[in-house]
Symmetry: C2
DNA sequence: GAGTGGTCTAGACCACCTC
DNA sequence: AGGTGGTCTAGACCACTCG
């Protein structure tokens, strides 16, 4: 990163800066290595700190960097491929999976979820909150919504300790006919952010799933994956092992 | 949006501002309506323009707003659900689809794609560039990579006009055994941004697909979807019609 | 307490669109 | 020409982590 000055160009400074840094990351840094602090970097490139930060933000969005308040900025490892396909046994086939149940309650779901399930707004359903751990870190949180009608075997009035396992067990007994998924970009709510060890507003991939049984929507879940560290795979035939770096400059492809 | 001042709270101003605006959008604005300009809004809430912009940026990221330079900020319609599942005939079954071919060449793919295809870096493959149109607007661009070995029927030396259809035709003849997909967050390169009518760096969902035939990877594609306007659906049983607004505040769920 | 990234300000100028 | 969002600056202070 010997560059001391940016040659004046037409494109925005932060954009040019981003490509310069991106190339430097490839050639001069190792994964996990910490970068100079923002004030130094800004001075070195002759830009204001806000401009430098704009470049870093994008690189973080693309999964190239990891920034932690009070600590510093480090070079991120390649994104982790996490399987969310039906074959993944993500749920509810769930053998020994990386999912940890962290909470459980009966509550009224958000309006959008109620519509998904076809229940009245305000109607209470079983909810299970889980988080997905990979390599020791939480990469996703999930909220699972199960209308009582889907799990008639479940007698009411359970203590919190038995509740979650009971709901999951009942669900496993159901014959699932299929499932639907949708992925969209979102930003982490305060609650999710905390579990994912990110700041509120961090970019996340929101995976909404509908589970079908007996011709109806038997359950739904909303999972929130860290967008900086995850690549979601939907595979017939196993995950993609190779990371595709969506290059930030125009020079890459032929 | 009668609020003239933000009550002082502990959370960051831009975050609070975001939830205030988000609620105002629900209750006081119609889709397509234009908001007051940034300078007025900032003054109205008693914050600097940069702070106001930080809130708007997040709302745009979540698909609630659409901003256009020289024009203004408008309330965005709900995200469009676009199917990218195998059943979608996204490609190459392709009946009359919303895909438009916009270019074609023989070129060396980016290193990451070469690895995916299992060809040498620098080796030339057929490339087809397409864009996906929905409701009159481009929502995705795609680059398709096909090694010559996968389409032996293709005699070399074709004019640009015949090339793309020929590649697609040959591909349709193949017996595809399956496909793999991965989704991750990226930012639009200059070229993609132009086709998607966004600024460079705009957030996009990058869908990488591997197509298998005869036990090998016969082709690969990298598609870039506008993250602000799209919700990607992977369905056995049809798309989710209901939008899930990943709420920005904590008050939504029970 | 020293050092980091995160938030915020009050300006300025630029690129783009529309009239 | 006038209005919009996009870029950029040079500061300040805050929240967090760590030795």
């Amino acid at each position: 990163m010997g560059t001391t000055q940016l040659e004046p160009v037409q494109e925005p400074k932060y954009w040019h800066l981003k490509t310069v840094l991106n190339d430097a990351l490839d050639s001069e840094f190792e994964v996990g290595e910490i970068l100079p602090n923002e004030r130094d970097l800004a001075a070195r490139f002759g830009v204001a700190r806000a401009t430098l930060r704009q470049a870093l933000e994008q690189l973080e969005l693309e999964g190239r960097l990891q920034r932690r308040r009070g600590v510093g900025t480090t070079v991120a490892p390649p994104r982790i491929g996490v399987s969310v396909g039906p074959s993944a046994g993500t749920w509810p086939g769930a053998g020994r999976d990386a999912w940890d149940t962290v909470g459980c309650a009966e509550a009224a779901p958000p309006a959008a979820v109620a519509a998904l399930l076809g229940v009245e707004a305000g109607e209470r359903v079983h909810t299970v909150r889980r988080e997905r751990m990979i390599q020791g870190q939480a990469i996703a949180t999930e909220m699972l919504y199960v209308p009582p009608a889907s799990v008639p075997g479940l007698s009411g009035m359970l203590g919190p300790a038995e509740h979650a396992p009971a709901v999951l067990r009942e669900l496993r007994e159901l014959e699932l006919e299929g499932e639907d998924r949708a992925v969209e970009l979102g930003s982490a709510r305060a609650e999710d952010a905390k579990q994912l060890d990110r700041l509120p507003g961090a970019p996340v991939l929101v995976v909404t799933t509908r589970y079908y049984a007996q011709g109806r929507v038997a359950a739904a879940s909303v999972a929130t994956y860290r967008a900086d560290t995850c690549r979601l795979t939907f595979g017939d035939s196993g995950a993609l092992e190779v990371t595709h770096h969506q290059a930030s400059d125009t020079r890459r492809a032929s």
